[in-house]
Amino acid sequence: MHADRLRLVEVEEVVRESPSIYTIRYRDDRPALPGQFVMVWLPGVNEVPMSLSYTGEDKGFTFRPVGETTKALAALEPGAPLGIRGIFGNSFKLTTGSALIVGGGTGIASIIAAVEPFSSKARVHAALGARTADELFFEKRVEESGAVLHVATDDGSRGHHGLVTDVVRKLLESGGIGQVIACGPERMLRGTAVLGREFGIPGQYSVERFMKCGIGICDACSLDGRLVCNDGPVFDGDFLLDSEDFGRYRLAPDGRRVTV
């Protein structure tokens, strides 16, 4: 349990990555792997899971202000205290010499931590998708990593006009991709996983579920009996596609099984 203990950190910097995307940086020397997350407690407000978009000692997480917590996080000033639990969860693994890494919306925050280290060891295509250009971020980090950047927006304001899964299909069709890694909205993840299976390419998909404990005991994040906080958030594509829940059901905060 030791590694999961609460600790207090100070916000070092609040970076505006795009008009609607913020990154909070803080110092924490615990080692973290791409795809892992922390529970971020904003005292007096709430505690929510956030993937690490920076996994070094200068850690960071990146989010879109959508509700009370994320809006309050975006309004923080340097020096503000945060409670951090974790490093939690499993991670993305590079298993081949050429990976297609896909991020949709705030899912980009999670996969960027894989794009950077994997690009120095393998040929990486990174496909970023968002609703509009304003919600895109980390393109520069992708380019600097050496990965090949692909972009799609729903409204065509940048890159391919349409879904990022269109880009995924095209890349899989052109061949030479050994594995797929993705994080993003569940509909997009499911589309990507279906494509992966169609082309016979193994895939690792990071899914989100409502979380309470983060330590694998409350069952809030259960996905077919697997705990997203502990067994995930990264799951094998075949497990997900064969599960009852993926892309269909999730547990609401009260434990009711509702549609995703």
């Binding site: 349990m1 030791h2 999961d4 203990r5 609460l6 207090l8 529970m39 407690w41 005292p43 007096g44 709430n46 505690e47 929510v48 205290p81 409670g83 639990r85 309470k212 404990c213 983060g214 330590i215 694998g216 005991i217 409350c218 069952d219 809030a220 259960s222 077919d224 009996g225 705990l227 502990n230 067994d231 009852e244 829940d245 547990l251 609401a252 905060p253 009260d254 434990g255 009711r256 099984r257």
Partner: protein, 304 residues
Amino acid sequence: MSVPDTGTAVGTLKFRNPLLLASGILGESAASMVRVYNSGAAGVVTKSIGSESRPGYRNPTVFEFGSGMLNAMGLPNPGIVDFGEVVRKTRASGVPTIASIFGSSPAEFAALAASMQEYGADAVELNLSCPHVEGFGAEIGSTPAMVGEVVKTVRDSVSLPIWAKMTPNVSDVAALAGAAEDAGADAIVAINTVKGMAISAKLRMPVLSHSVGGMSGRAVKYVGLRSVYEISGRCGLPVVGVGGISCGEDVAEYLMAGASAVQVGTAVSEGGPGVFGRIAGELSSFMSSEGFSSIREMVGIARR
């Protein structure tokens, strides 16, 4: 020496080993409970279910410290209507399922128990640690009179076994157990969490959003053992021990204090559902090396 028999029974219910999943731990979804069973538990207790759905408290709902944790989940649950599907599924998968329920009046407990019986639960476990609406903030399970009344009302409404789960936050837990026995309970479960609270000195505020929570894990093992010992010295019902169990010797200690079976909760956060298989193996090795061939031989031998 031959392989020891880890099978046990709590009243009429038989279990392949003494290890059950404690209420509130991975007990919300059928899939998780089936997984726990497949990982070595002999049965599961569901999350405590109430009349209406409740989202529970806002995060932080848990706080871990060196030897245990505090939680104040706020009894999140889908409500009794939606939970039928879950119990039916675990039963269909062959998992011995004890359905935990909570209410703030005897009648509410009785209605919930009746639904759980209809869903096919193997037993109901009464979570007697909830605020009592008619009382003054004290828990519904904190006096023998209240415990007796709840158990009796439930007894009158269902035929399935009734397990009464005790709060340790009382001056005389054995008296509570005695009241449950007199009112017709079939087993006593002890203990629920110990009331506690964490404060962050730097933030100058409580850590849990609800401020006060329940302590569980290794730090409460000695409270649980004491409760089981006191209860089994006073009351003739089978006792199910809970609190801080994380290895085979812990289970043996509870059995020796007087428990016929145990439940494991917080330890699941250390090794996932696989803890059940590990603990079952350790218990079996302990029995072999100490010369016990059945669980029965161990139950209550620490009483002189």
